[in-house]
């Protein structure tokens, strides 16, 4: 399978999400100009441009890491490790794969589906999708770190790190219960 770029290049440069934030920015800026006056408008604009410039090196680093990690990852091994008999080790492998998957939902969810057809169980699938949703390296490094204070990002990642494996484990317990039920 071909390596995916962190942000699928099939994405349009201007898409719905970009239009939404452009609209929010434009409307908010206009309202600030009208309600609070020109001075406040320029202060906020300059402040945020300075902040953005300070962030820029971090963003570029995050993008580099997000691009280089999947190139160095042994994909075939990851897939071999997520079998239904894989126990906790398999669930952790599924979680780590989910964290490392560099794509958006259009890449990740079909990949999880494909892995489940190829032999991963429902628990591994749910673990992988949950890990990607909660902890995706790509999104955390590029987006979350860019917008939110790093100590909060670290706290959130630390608190949710075990959640994907816990959900997968619960799925396996539920399935066991169903098999035992008369």
């Amino acid at each position: 399978m071909k390596h995916q770029t962190p942000v699928s290049t099939g994405h349009k440069f201007v898409d719905t999400g970009f239009i939404i934030i452009l609209a929010i920015a434009f409307i908010s800026a206009t309202l600030v100009w009208i309600q609070k006056g020109q001075n406040v408008f320029w202060t906020i604009l300059v402040e945020n441009i300075q902040f953005g410039l300070a962030l820029l090196p971090k963003i570029i680093c995050g993008v580099f890491l997000a691009c280089v990690i999947p190139l160095m990852l042994p994909r075939e091994k990851v897939q071999r490790w997520i079998g239904p008999e894989s126990g906790f080790r398999g669930l952790w492998a599924a979680a780590l794969a989910g964290i490392a998957i560099p794509g958006g939902p259009s890449v990740t969810l079909p990949l999880a589906g494909g892995l489940m057809i190829a032999g991963a169980d429902l628990a591994a699938g749910i673990t992988m999708v949950t890990a990607w949703a909660l902890l995706s390296v790509n999104r955390t490094l590029i987006w979350e770190m860019s917008f939110l204070p790093p100590h909060l990002v670290l706290l959130r990642v630390g608190m949710t790190f075990a959640v994907p494996v816990m959900l997968g484990w619960m799925v396996r317990r539920l399935q066991l219960g169903q098999e035992r039920a008369p």
Partner: protein, 163 residues
């Protein structure tokens, strides 16, 4: 200051990997850099617009209301309310994080922000109806949603204790 620490850590990791690849496999390094450029072209305009927009939005948000609804004084109710808004947020990650950053600037508590980001990432309604339901099926989505539903409320409560 925290930006500086984050930058230093990220640069250290990047330079270590880049040096390793420069010695071992320049082809991979070249490919990574090529992807870095094309990805940056996609991302930097979004972060820029998101940052500036969230700056203006924070100025407009009624600070008293945000602080009242999601601030420290709102306690766990604020965390719960913030967690309920997560799945309803439309658009990509920059929309959710820009909203979160704006609310934080306007006085929302850190625990409420963590509840919001957790519920948005776990249970994004827009994303799951568009991708998860058709690709992985109703059983998968139902089971995952059911199991994940309590998580933001628990994480938000933990965050209240830790922040």
């Amino acid at each position: 200051m925290s930006i500086l620490i984050g930058s230093v850590l990220l640069w250290a990791a990047s330079l270590t990997i880049a040096r390793k690849l420069w010695i071992e496999d320049r082809e991979v390094l070249r490919e990574a850099l090529r992807r870095m450029v094309s990805t940056s072209v996609f991302i930097i305009p979004r972060v820029a617009v998101g940052l500036i927009g969230s700056g203006f939005l924070a100025e407009l948000l009624p600070q008293d209301n945000i602080a009242m609804l999601f601030g420290k004084e709102a306690g766990y109710m604020g965390v719960m309310l913030a967690s309920l808004f997560g799945p309803l947020t439309p658009g990509g990650p920059f929309v959710a994080f820009a909203i979160g950053a704006a609310a934080l600037k306007a006085g929302a508590s850190e625990a409420a922000l963590i509840g919001y980001v957790t519920s948005w990432s776990l249970l994004c309604l827009n994303r799951d109806l568009v991708y998860e339901l058709p690709v992985l099926g109703a059983r998968f989505m139902r089971l995952r949603w059911l199991l994940a539903l309590p998580v933001p409320f628990i994480i938000g409560a933990l965050a209240m204790l830790l922040t």
